[in-house]
Amino acid sequence: MKTIHLALAFLSLAPMAMAETPVLRVLTYDSFAAEWGPGPAIAKGFEAECACTVAYVTAGDGAAVLSRLQMEGAGSSADIVLGLDTALTETARATGLFAPLAAQAPNDLPVPYTDANFAPFDWGWFAFVYDNTKLTAPPKSFKELAASNLKIVIEDPRSSTPGLGLVMWVKAAYGDQSAQIWKDLADNIVTVTPSWDAAYGLFLKGEADMVLSYTTSPAYHLIAEKDASKSAAAFDEGQYMQIEVAGKLASSKQQALADQFLAYLASDAAQAVIPTTNWMYPAKTPAAGLPAGFETLIQPAKSLLLTPVEAEAGRKAAVEEWQTVLSQ
């Protein structure tokens, strides 16, 4: 009985405490808010200028963020949703929960990108990562990869955003011939994992010659571990892009504060945090440039990206095609 009273007292006090310093609630994925992710530094930087508190609410990955938002619906307590990628933005937009952006910050993305609801904060190219001490002549295209005896481990598009990215990549590069590419790749695939970390873990254990990851993955090993043995393979077809975006919810009672946060996210201070915390390219290159080590990364000749509308329209069929071909 006593505990119930205490709990009630606590619940009634909590909103009062919030009323004093506004709390900006940011729904994002786990690794963004993790202590080694960009979250803490960005929160600290923003809190210094907003007289508010940033509270991260997390879900497993971009897809989990979206499904959590769909579960919460208009009743969501979040002000900002951060960490969806362009494969998901159309579905997110269709919920009608997002407010238009107050301003469009300039960006340095390799492809033109603007969206009325979503502001990009970082981006990367998908790539197959390999150990350059073991593999000296990496394949230069999907066709070369398929023709080789190299073993790869990939993520499942039904449970992981990089997995979905790969399916989109093949679709963007090969269109109607994508099924044939998957058929040819089938004997190279060691296994398909439910998540990026399982795939990357298997690769590091030596279970595969290459793993589907990002062109920026080698930068982590180089900068954080002083290990130059990982490289990403550049493919002639071009590399598919992942653009990560943030948006504000129409239901937020702190529209101005949310706008202010999105502006901060695009600022030099926040963007400079991204490369060595999220291991992605910042949407706007900071004035001081990219950290040392990033210059060693491959620069794809061609960037591939389906528009959000194309991605949304083609996703289901592409995943079904992938599943059908690889199930045989």
Partner: protein, 505 residues
Amino acid sequence: MANRFVAISAWALASGIAALVLGTALALAVQAKGVALHPADWAALRFTLMQAALSTLLSCLLAMPVARALARTRFAGRRALIVLMGAPFLLPVIVAVLGLVSLYGRNGVLNQTLAALGLPTVTIYGLHGVVLAHVFFNLPLATRMLLNGWQSIPAERFRLAQTLGLPSTFRHIELPMLAAVLPGVALAIFLVCLTSFVVALTLGGGPAATTLELAIYQALRFDFDPGHAALLAGVQFAVCAVAVTVAARFTLPEGLGLGLDRAQAGQKAHWVDAPVLALAAVFLILPLVAVVADGAPAVLQLPAMVWQAALRSALMAMAAAVLSVTAALVLVQAKVVGAAWVEAAAMLPLATSGLVLGTGLFLLTRSFVQPETIALPVTVLVNALMALPFLFRLLLPQARDLHRNYDRLAQTLGLSGAARLRWLTLPRLVRPLGMGAGLAAALSMGDLGVVALFAGHDQATLPLVVQRLSGAYRMDQAAAAALVLVASSFALFALCDIGGRRAAP
């Protein structure tokens, strides 16, 4: 009086369980847009059934010689071996998978050895890999249950067979026991394998190895189609119901195996026992060694938050254990005085999908509270619920004995309510209660489940931290944190189990 109290509590509990399990599924079902299964769902159902059936068959077949060998041999360290062999059942799935890959993977110990000897290498990826992993998880469970069966055969019966000069003790004595015990063992393993997801996909080698649970995950995550998830959960339910019905036609086993120190006095050891036990020990313990070897180097460099998460997880695991043990005790008491329906309620959580349960709870509670404010209590509740079927089975045989032997004496003495609990029930059941609490704590410690759905940023449990570390390239630290997780799970289990044994009269 006492009986009525137990009956009312049991009713309330059973209704609560049914409401949770069915209510959460219903919360998803109301959002259904259609009720058709896709062709891919049928494929998933077929694969789910096939891998579960194969895993069950192989686990049971292999467990028989192992349990028999354990039953009839005595050697130093026998009990330690039994305890250690139980460890795989307590391992978090992804940790165990990586441990297996260290041994049997393309770059694993086995293939390196084969290659060094100039022999062709083997692959773990495919249906056989899935079955291998499931056997690794469930062989200990099957062995323990069967060992219990062997130990329940009175030694006199073997002596009688000898005096009568019966040609085969197996056919006349052991086979009837197996016929009675095996269906229940098979059922338990089948149900565990039915909801497999990470093992099936990671080791399955491709989307052909899609289980219903993965289809549920997809429906919730990428398609956001809760109705379809509920439909799939319903299919999973139906499969469970059929399995339970089929198994119920045979006698069910009575527990996971206590009384481990009674060697089967009536049977002599056979030369085959030693190699069988050695093989089983190597098969079950080597992956654990790999987990330790992978994790040990980085343990000292783990960030402080890992230890905080470990403490949080341990506290939650203990809370879940207390909750689950209490619930199991009440239900078991009701069952022994004749309430048959109690058993159905106690087994119900085995049939549900953790993801459906979590999502349903989220949908049901979101209008009242912030998800993260109830993340930890909900996780404790769900973990307690998931451990309940195992605890119920564990307690049942001892509770039955207790009732049969001492209920009338207690009644003539007027021993009821709290006094009965203190002076009779707890002291008599403290061993299975300790083991059950340990099991619940360990299972709950390793569960990623619903906390990932509800937790705010600052409420990470240890499994969540492992996932976050490995999601940020920190594989070494993730392996170390996983080792901490395994060690804590095992320590919690051992603490409760030994505590129960020590406290036993």
